[in-house]
Amino acid sequence: MDHRVFQVSSRESTGAIQQLIVECGPTRVAIPGRAIRGLLKTVETAFRDTITLLGETYEKEDLVSRLDPAKAVVQFSSQGRTILCSNGMWRKAYLVDRILGLVTIEPPHVFPLPPHFRGAEREWFDGLFFFHDVLVLIINLDWALRPIGVVRCGSDLEASQALETFGSGSESGCAG
């Protein structure tokens, strides 16, 4: 199995952030480099629900389906990749259709989602940027990694109390 462990310098002194750009069903999404822990070929992870790397276990999830339950990644594609992500609290192994590139983005080059979008998508995405004259959505990984059903708490105190009660990686309760 080809494990590629990321050593990403996620933030330079100017505030620039590395973004891994992937094709995700009908759209293009950027995953913040700071959260990436590994990169695998999806065909090598078939028929497994979890992946363990360096003692940490990542639950597999189709990133396309996370954004749109009516869609899914192309099965058994040679270009498909599984991206191991973690924010220190939760871990997921995201299936994507293919990798498009790795870029460093300066904050002034990030555009907000137009105000016409008024739904939950405003939490799903942190903005947009241009990559080779095409637009890419920046995914909010803290939202994506948070287990479905876990509600974001209103304060850091509530979050820390919830973690003490339920433990790290819990699928119930409140988490910040």
């Binding site: 989602l113 137009p114 016409h116 998508e121 995405f125 095409v134």
Partner: protein
Amino acid sequence: MMLRPQASQKKPALDKKLVMIFSMGGQSFAAPMEEIGGIIYWPDGLMVPSETPFLNAVVWREKDIMPVFDLAEMLDLTIESDPPLCLLVKHEDGPLAVRIDSNVPILQSVDCSSIKPPEGANPIIGGRLELDGQSMAMLYLSKLGKVQA
């Protein structure tokens, strides 16, 4: 000598209204010209997973990013012809793109009396325009997504 208006003088321009007549799914629609920012060929786009009704993509021209409102889907129509055209709408929240058929829209000056009150309760439909024996809905595009259709 006091000047008096002559009976043969034409009616003032206030009785006229400029409208854009365009096609979606083969049906004609009209929109007030003051709500139209332009017409372009359909530009590059990006699908955006969204829970906002009928808003599911963005398009861009150079560095201007505009959301796409799927008006055809809202009216249960299918855009005919490929490639389609793009209507740029002066929306309350900023520029908005609406995909229309490839028939080039027409700018028309119409009598205000030819615009009849709307029949249904759809707030997007501002009335019906009777023109050359054809009846078409007059749409308030600047309010798309702001009111429940």
